[in-house]
Symmetry: C2
Subunit: 190 residues, 2 copies
DNA sequence: CTAAATTGATAACAAATGTTATCGCTTTAG
DNA sequence: CTAAAGCGATAACATTTGTTATCAATTTAG
């Protein structure tokens, strides 16, 4: 886990060791719910291998809002940060191995880390990046057709297209699975 | 301008005075472009009175992405923070009076402010709030029908519905102006 | 004050998208 | 290994949504 972070960040070794001490490794089969819609997120996950999605209920149908692959940090971020009931259910969609930590252990350490200017700036940039990602996502709905959204995904996140069942992709794009199938057929012809 | 901030934040008087010294007041008529799509944002605005929107071009049509009313801080946030070309055009939609500051003057002051824990936490919370807002917006497109998105707006931002022309609202919701008119008619009947 | 522009509603039609059901083909569980 | 579940394609049909054009009412610019 931390070999990866090390390549990407300026976190020093001592910080890393402190963080690592709070994480434990766990494995789950596919379709395991790690956080249910309505619960408050008390844990954070680092995906070592496998894949998850967050989804929510829309008139009895599951709508997928986001995917997470290995080497990413996952939490129901708004629930984790604000201690509000999660809007989403977090569920594995492949057999998945993660590093888990409890929020109560991590929070003091994070506050300490943010005292230091370099880390603080990294942290702020990371949140901003998240903001821009969501902005782009919102934008894609008013700016692009479903076909364009699919093509963007093919270009920008080809791993998702390869690994993830098509009906999940469809709801992520905001269309029905039948319609996505039609779009693919049309694209094949042209 | 700063009377307002004062009520809402923990900024001390000395900080406020330093910030205020960088702002100047300006007024524009309706339909004034303050930042064009493709330019890098070098200014930040505090709206004293009036109303703006940010929009972008979609196949020759203007699509409205966001509105800003008085007492809010406005910039093409991703352009301002990352110094990248703005995705949006910022334009007034009413006669508008703003406080303006230049990014080059504000940045050093902001860095200094963020040294202090209380301000830093405020700042981080503010960015997170922005993230959650965009998350909700993305979510609304996969989770809700256009009619539900309109009703949410009526409930949560009634000022927008009252003040802003319907065709702007329509593109903000992600539908055509004709369709919004139809939705309103249907709602009247029920 | 007056002409021009903007706004919101509406109709008629076209295109996009959803729903339901069916059918092979994989994959998974036991 | 075998039965069950999951998956992707497809067809038929219903519904939603977009497009274009028109009109009356209102607002704006000069």
């Amino acid at each position: 886990m931390f070999e990866y972070i090390d390549r990407e960040s300026v976190l020093t070794k001592s910080f890393l060791e402190e963080y690592q001490s709070h994480f434990r490794i766990e494995s789950y089969p596919s379709k395991t719910v790690l956080l249910a819609q309505g619960q408050v997120a008390e844990k954070i996950f680092w995906i070592e291998s496998g894949c998850m999605r967050i989804w929510l209920n829309k008139d009895g149908q599951e709508v997928t809002f986001q995917f997470f692959l290995e080497n990413s940090l996952v939490a129901s971020i708004e629930s984790f940060w604000q201690s509000t009931p999660s809007l989403f259910t977090l569920e594995t969609i492949e057999p998945t191995t993660v590093w888990v930590a409890d929020k109560k252990d991590l929070k003091p350490l994070l506050d300490k880390t943010l005292q230091e200017e370099a880390y603080r700036n990294l942290f702020i940039d990371a949140i901003f990046q998240r903001t821009f990602d969501y902005m782009q996502r919102s934008l894609s709905f008013v700016q692009s057709t479903p076909e364009q959204r699919y093509l963007n995904l093919v270009e920008q996140r080809p791993e998702l297209i390869k690994r993830i069942a098509q009906h999940y992709i469809a709801s992520y794009i905001g269309i029905s699975k039948v319609h996505l199938s039609r779009i693919k057929k049309k694209l094949l012809k042209s």
